[in-house]
Symmetry: C2
Subunit: 371 residues, 2 copies
């Protein structure tokens, strides 16, 4: 059984203090008792976290590699996250910057069902960037939203996703919306011979998920959108593991910002929007694009894209999906920056095209082909 | 229908910039399209967020009160959190500091089933602080853990909770542990005539919850521990709303630290560990105590306790439960600080008492009575 290793950046005033804090993390994340009362034998030898190395990154900043037993985790994703960063999330000056899953946990957490290759097959887009318009705004009825989706699919969108704010509200309840948009996209696909995938937002109350997921599948939805920040990463894991469900999963970053925005807290951008999404089993990971209204840097965005596509990462490589400030005008620049294995989100600015929204999709395709 | 109001602290270089950012939040959290393409009529008049006021708190720091429609939320807690802070969590310099639920949403989100009064009745402790030892460490078998629980219950503990790292691992699987500890605590209760409540950690895989919750109830567990940071706040809401379940819920802060530790991001301590817990329906909210290993200040801890017990808050007042660095030695100080409506967690330091762990519980009771 091979231990897994978490890389923590520790902010401390000296190497000795960093060493003390690393030893504290090893206790906190496993036995959570003072060192002197850790029971001898199995608990001390196997369960207790182990500081494998501690190095100085620069003044005040240290890198601790701490290993844990797969026995601490069992087979549960939430418990893996609990060991990685549960209580340590509440201590200042600790940032999770890496994870080596090891052989044992790699078998327990196989990652994405589809990944880049599988999603390309389903969308019948063997090469080039995928185009994904977002259906919105909240407050419109299902017929209005379905009409927008139809025009986008007809114009050659690869994926169409619900806005993450469309859940089960009275204006366009999940089942009504899912049925109408699925059937509008299916109609467009019949007309074009295309394979546009519609991804409804699988949100609502916890007790609705199983029913909603089955309903989406039965409607002919091409996948689902999931918000792990609000519903937990385990919902993605559960859907990805479900052989009867068997649809791609796109993860949205809502409510997750606080984990990445501080330099000395939480996770790196690549860990949160790349590694954790792959670990859970997402096939497409949305994140805020550089130059939009969210303030991620080019370096941070590229690190996310690398983490999503790294062949040596958890499970299959997945699609990074930059959104927010993405537009037809920026298509060439984005293609040069991210390459081809990308799902480009097109959001609210699309609505400016009104009934001619399809023209934006066509223009985006041309720009990606030329870029 | 009354709108609900979220209070955001915005960090900006001028009042004009703050005003622009506030207007941006109102768009982002609802329609998520540029202002000029918001559809006229219902979407613009009702759904679009409204900046009700903007005031200067001090240089560089502004308070925006933004109102939203209950229609944006529907009846779902995750969607309420999504409107409060979903995408805005990904923008720097925004902190949620208050929430006025309004009449409409107060009816949709009734809060705790038990609260302070109901938990006191179940634990048969009409006055004074409640004592809650934590059963650990991870790696021990269920018999060892049950023996610790038995000794604590026999000595007069009011509540006994699983360590949050005990989930469904092979060393002490959920059902085995739940059964053995429930029956050990029941035996102690028969011997003392007491009403000690055992709260197993309701964790595992998403698909296990319903089964595990029912199993805990059938075993005679006195409540459950839930980790909303890993499983979502909606799990608490679901359990609190379940009339057949009908047991108190204790919420643990694991994985939630990144939301509160930065001054310019996330939520205030009182919002996260008081208001959101009440909104979800927790009866007892655990948070890291001042003076322990987590670095919360006395002011932050008292703000949490106030938010938990404020008679004008969401639903029933609930128990604040400081843990981490709590000990028999600090009982008097903690009683003076927090008062009587508190569940005092006693963690790993208890294990120092070994077979005499009951003496620590007795000493804690005496210290609280004297303090």
């Amino acid at each position: 059984m091979s231990r897994f290793v978490v890389h923590y950046r520790i902010f401390a005033s000296s190497f000795d203090e960093a060493a003390e804090r690393a030893a504290g993390i090893a206790l906190e994340q496993t036995v959570e008792v003072p060192r002197d009362v850790v029971p001898h034998g199995y608990v001390e030898d196997e369960i207790l976290g182990r500081v494998e190395s501690l190095t100085t990154e620069c003044s005040g900043q240290y890198l601790a590699r701490i290993s844990y037993s797969p026995d601490s985790v069992g087979t549960e994703l939430p418990q893996l996250l609990n060991v990685v960063f549960g209580n340590s999330s509440i201590q200042k000056g600790i940032k999770v910057i890496g994870l080596d899953l090891g052989k044992t946990l790699s078998e327990r957490f196989p990652g994405a069902r589809f990944g880049v290759k599988g999603v390309r097959e389903r969308a019948n887009r063997p090469a080039g960037g995928l185009i994904c318009p977002v259906i919105k705004p909240q407050g419109c009825d299902a017929d209005t939203l379905a009409e927008i989706a139809y025009r986008c699919a007809l114009a050659g969108a690869d994926v169409i996703k619900d806005d993450h704010g469309l859940t089960d509200q009275a204006m366009a309840p999940f089942k009504t919306r899912c049925e109408k948009i699925s059937s509008a996209v299916a109609r467009a696909n019949r007309e074009t011979g295309g394979s546009c995938l519609y991804l409804p937002n699988l949100a609502g109350r916890t007790e609705d998920f199983v029913d909603f997921a089955r309903f989406a599948k039965d409607c002919g939805a091409g996948g689902v959108l999931v918000l792990p920040g609000l519903f937990g990463f385990d919902l993605i894991r559960r859907l990805a593991a479900d052989e009867a469900f068997d649809l791609p999963i796109m993860a949205h970053p809502s409510f997750l910002g606080s984990y990445v925005l501080s330099d000395t807290l939480g996770f790196t951008h690549a860990m949160m929007f790349g590694v954790l999404q792959r670990l859970a089993g997402a096939d497409i990971a949305i994140f805020p694009n550089v130059g939009g209204r969210f303030g991620f840097s080019e370096t941070e965005c590229l690190a996310i894209a690398r983490a999503c596509r790294d062949p040596s990462g958890v499970g299959k490589p997945i699609f990074p999906s930059p959104g927010g400030g993405t537009s037809v005008e920026r298509a060439g620049e984005m293609k040069r920056m991210y390459g081809d294995d990308v799902v480009f989100l097109l959001g609210g600015s699309l609505l400016r095209y009104g009934r001619h929204i399809g023209e934006a999709i066509v223009a985006m395709r041309q720009a990606l082909a030329a870029g």
